[in-house]
């Protein structure tokens, strides 16, 4: 009974996944496709959980579905309303009807090829997988959660560059300027929700950060939760979404990579090799890096959501038109 139900659930998930993706791409109006896309994100989080990848599931739910959905909805909100109901015509500059058919056929052929290769590859599971190496080197890494160990110790350079990617996107957005119109309607329910939800979000973010060392969790998930707190603040009428303003904000933006770089240069100049933490202090150093990384990710994601640096205006009181 156990194996059968597993495969039944898998098929269900797979069908839901593919249907939602198709619906999101072909939905009539833009608003519908975005909402379907958010649902698709949540189902993906479920799939990650099913495939025993809890860290990724958390991140997908918080960032993939949550924040991307928030970004998409705000992008929608600036549009004049009839625009958002734009009917997705499938006509395409790639030579109209025949272009579509040609592209669809060629893409599906390539997909079949890859599928066959995946089938061929999956069966002879490569013994030399890195999992074994990670397992053996885990106790040297200072944390017991293998994913955090890989992220912040073995492949720390990747994470450093990834934070740089996040910063690059943020700098690009800020350089475009033209911030969004501040949230117009402020009603009592949103403010009361804010009062209740934001402290809880901050608490869970802290818990995520701490638990990351030995259980699924970590800097990215915690950062995303903090960003969610910021988004809720903004929706409840706080124009600056709980962010400091001016120099402090810029330092916070940069703190994540800053700590990483100082750590790396300190170990590099100490002759051990870039980002080679001393084995005794590895756990503590990773936690320190994760702390600042969480703050930096949260600030960056909130600013991406806001679209520009918040002005220095006083907080608008609850319930009044800003």
């Amino acid at each position: 009974m156990n194996t059968l139900s597993w495969s039944f659930l898998d098929i269900l998930l797979v069908i839901a996944l593919v249907l939602l993706a198709g619906a999101a791409l072909r939905a009539r109006s833009l608003r519908q496709s975005i909402i379907l896309f958010i649902a698709f994100g949540l189902v993906t989080a479920l799939v990650w959980a099913r495939l025993r990848a809890p860290d990724v599931a958390l991140a997908e739910a918080a960032i993939g579905a949550g924040l991307t959905g928030a970004l998409l909805l705000t992008a929608l909100r600036n549009r004049p309303s009839e625009e958002s109901r734009l009917v997705s015509n499938n006509g395409m500059r790639w030579g109209g009807r025949w272009g579509n058919v040609a592209i669809t056929v060629s893409v599906s052929l390539v997909a079949l090829g890859i599928g066959w290769a995946v089938l061929y590859g999956m069966n002879d599971t490569q013994s030399g997988r890195l999992a074994g190496q990670v397992g053996s080197a885990l106790e040297l890494s200072g944390v017991s959660n293998p994913v955090t160990a890989v992220l912040l110790n073995f492949r720390a350079y990747d994470t450093l560059l990834e934070l740089a990617v996040l910063l690059a996107a943020l700098l690009g957005i800020l350089s475009l300027g033209g911030g969004r119109a501040t949230h117009c309607t402020v009603d009592p329910i949103a403010t009361s929700l804010r009062g209740w939800l934001v402290p809880l979000l901050i608490l869970t973010a802290g818990y995520q950060l701490w638990v990351g060392a030995h259980a699924p969790g970590g800097a990215f998930q915690a950062g995303a939760l903090l960003a969610a707190a910021g988004v809720v603040q903004h929706l409840a009428g706080r124009a600056h979404a709980g962010l400091p303003v001016g120099a402090v904000l810029r330092v916070l933006m940069v703190s994540g990579i800053g700590i990483f770089m100082t750590m790396g240069l300190w170990t590099f100049l100490g002759g051990r090799g870039f980002l080679a933490y001393p084995q005794r202090w590895a756990g503590e150093l990773i936690l320190l890096i994760e702390l600042f990384a969480t703050l930096a990710i949260a600030v960056t994601l909130i600013l991406c959501y806001l679209g520009s640096e918040p002005e220095r205006r006083r907080i608008t009181p609850a319930g009044s038109k800003p």
Binding site: I114, Q133, F154, R155, Y157, D158, V165, S175, V251, F274
Partner: protein, 479 residues
């Protein structure tokens, strides 16, 4: 000196970018210092490689399979120096180009991140790490391209972003397949295990497809001209000279180091034919282009065609002295194009800034008003056509020699027509510069903007041609 200088090439620009973000008032000084320090580090790395040979630095002290290793051999050291010098010259130019502090505050941090991405990409030898550097490169390039804020620039930047993302995703699919098949991400480790099986073939096609999309090889080049033509001058210089070339560097790295087992001579044609088409189509479009920057952008498409054509020839030669010489020729052509195109774009920027727009039709009398700029365009033109004193001449000589050696006349005809078309579109511009303008006003010169462009073109047109003798034997032992 046992300190691995190559790590500094990545660490310095990142730190510079952080300081520039945190301290916007001083971002220009920080930017200039970092650019200078990075080019010094690049030259030191080259010296270290010349003395010691290929170097490797395990990040975090872990063995390359588990952790990531930065590896530098003569090919990547030479590209590092190209990146360092072109970015340094463009930075000096940028100090004169950007006026208001707001623009500066936005420009410099992204500029240094772009530099970090370029260095990281050239040095990395871990497949997923290359993906992350490609993304960082793509995002910074898009943000910089959209810096000018006009409608055309933003449209071009958006299309560039979408194409870039598509390319990186396809590349990532290839990496996933390789990991599925061989269980590790380290490039040399996979190179030893790889043999001709379907999963390796598919990974090769996907990764090369993704990279060709980002390198704008002929059929996939539609996004390049508007993006490069509408970006601010120093940005378009770096976009054309370096960012597009990083894609080519990766294709070269993959096809020579990772997939030699799979490559039969005929697979080279997969790159050669689009390369030849790129040469002809790019040169023709450049000849028809109305604006100087658009001309330069299309000529980038054409010049990349030459490089891929060279690669196609390279794989048909059996390993031996002729193949090493051709490999040296291709690298030299890539370097010369890098310097020449950067010089040309900076000069085009000066023309646009001085006379309002860069329409080729009203460049009349440019020779009097901006003699140094005209000279820069002339030198860059010489390097683009591949006339004697330039490194491109040697490159084209090797290309033609190996094509004739193989008896494949198609490439010879393509290179010949390409050079004639290149001569046509360069002298079409220079001709206007000689035409006397009605009011010969006094020559206007801003040293800070003119000298970097002139030096870049001079390096391309003369130094690389005459002074590159030492490079050839070293490149030989790379492949």
């Amino acid at each position: 000196m046992e300190v691995d200088v190559l790590v500094l090439s990545v660490a310095l620009p990142l730190c510079g970018a952080l300081i520039a973000v945190a301290w916007p008032r001083r971002c220009e000084v920080v930017g200039m210092l970092t650019a200078f320090a990075v080019s010094v580090a690049a030259v030191l790395t080259l010296v270290q490689v010349l003395v010691v040979g290929a170097l490797q630095h395990e990040m975090g002290g872990w063995t390359p399979g588990l952790g990531i290793a930065l590896r530098v051999d003569i090919l990547s050291a030479v590209f590092l120096v190209l990146v360092g010098l072109v970015v340094l010259a463009s930075s000096v130019y940028a100090t004169g180009y950007f006026g208001q502090p707001r623009e500066k505050a936005h420009f410099w941090p992204m500029w240094l991140l772009l530099l970090a991405a370029l260095n990281a990409l050239v040095l990395s030898s871990d497949l997923f790490n290359v993906y992350v550097t490609l993304e960082l490169l793509g995002l910074t390039a898009v943000s910089l391209a959209a810096l000018s804020g006009q409608r055309a620039a933003i449209d071009a930047a958006l299309r560039y972003l979408l194409v870039g993302l598509l390319g990186s995703m396809v590349y990532l699919a290839g990496v996933a397949l390789l990991y599925l098949g061989y269980g590790t991400l380290d490039l040399p480790a996979i190179a030893t295990q790889i043999e001709s099986e379907p999963i390796a073939w598919l990974a090769l096609c996907l990764m090369t497809g993704g990279l060709l999309l980002k390198t704008a090889l002929f059929p996939l080049h539609f996004w390049l001209p508007p993006a490069h033509a509408n970006a601010p001058a120093p940005v378009s210089a770096v976009l054309s000279a370096l960012v597009v070339k990083a894609g080519f560097y990766l294709v070269m790295r993959l096809w020579i180091d990772l997939f030699p087992a799979l490559l039969t001579p005929s697979t080279g044609l997969l790159l050669g034919i689009p390369g030849a088409a790129a040469v002809l189509w790019g040169s023709w479009q450049a000849f028809k282009a109305e604006r100087l920057k658009l001309l330069a952008a299309y000529s980038t498409v054409a010049q990349l065609g030459y490089l891929f054509l060279g690669l196609a020839l390279l794989f048909q030669l059996a390993p031996g002295p002729t193949r090493d010489v051709l490999f040296g020729g291709i690298v030299l052509m890539a370097l010369t194009h890098g310097f020449a195109k950067a010089g040309l774009f900076l000069a085009a920027g000066m023309v646009q800034k001085r006379s309002g727009n860069d329409q080729i039709s009203n460049l009349g009398g440019m020779a009097q008003r901006m003699p140094v700029t005209t000279f820069t365009i002339a030198l860059a033109g010489v390097a683009l056509i591949g006339l004697p004193p330039s490194g491109a001449f040697l490159g084209k000589w090797q290309l033609l020699s190996s094509a004739l050696g193989l008896g494949q006349w198609l490439w010879v005809i393509v290179v010949a027509t390409g050079s004639m078309l290149a001569a046509a579109y360069v002298f079409r511009v220079l001709e206007r510069a000689f035409a006397g303008s009605s009011q010969p006003d006094a020559p206007v010169a801003i040293a800070r903007e003119e000298w970097p462009a002139l030096l870049l073109s001079a390096i391309a047109a003369v130094l690389l041609g005459v002074g590159s003798g030492w490079l050839w034997p070293l490149l030989g032992n790379d492949i």
